[in-house]
Symmetry: C2
Subunit: 102 residues, 2 copies
């Protein structure tokens, strides 16, 4: 499994819009055949920090995600709402090892 | 759900020992009644960077985890193997919203 971890910081006047856009993107991403998880989390402190935990069967499935209409709509909507650039890290899973455990 | 995201950087001479210790800790943590996930991931670049995705039903379950024998054994074993201090961030889940989806 190929895992993408993204941290974002959002301008406070756009928090509600951002969460709505992210929940819509999460729902659509979960329908992609190569996607196994798309968790959307909010930090307690600071509460304008968010985290995506995106799990794909393979790296190519992540690249396919970037070509979808819902991703492109999300990206264009939220980019002006960012307080600073998003940070992403890419990982391969050690545990769970088996796809059926995701 | 209460989610703890931990990033670690490991001295290269201890990579194998570290991975063994983490897999043992992950197996035991998954047996805790308050734990829902304990994913253990390795970064491609740099390959001595690792990530834990720890999901608990509530914050108090995370504190109980810190009192377990397997956590304390893991912590004491790996601390001298760290290249730099671990970084942790704490989140609450927005999506999935329901415990049954974790």
């Amino acid at each position: 499994m190929y895992v993408v971890c993204v941290t974002s910081w959002v301008k406070r006047e756009h928090l509600d819009d951002y969460m709505q856009a992210c929940m819509a993107n999460a729902r659509e991403t979960r329908k992609e055949p190569g996607n196994l998880r798309f968790d959307f989390l909010r930090c307690a402190e600071p509460d304008n920090q968010f985290f995506f935990y995106e799990v794909y069967k393979a790296e190519e499935d992540f690249h396919k995600h970037h070509e979808t209409a819902h991703y492109l709509k999300w990206r264009d909507s939220v980019t002006p709402w960012m307080e600073q650039p998003r940070e992403a890290a890419k990982y391969n899973s050690i545990a769970p090892a088996d796809e059926s455990d995701w």
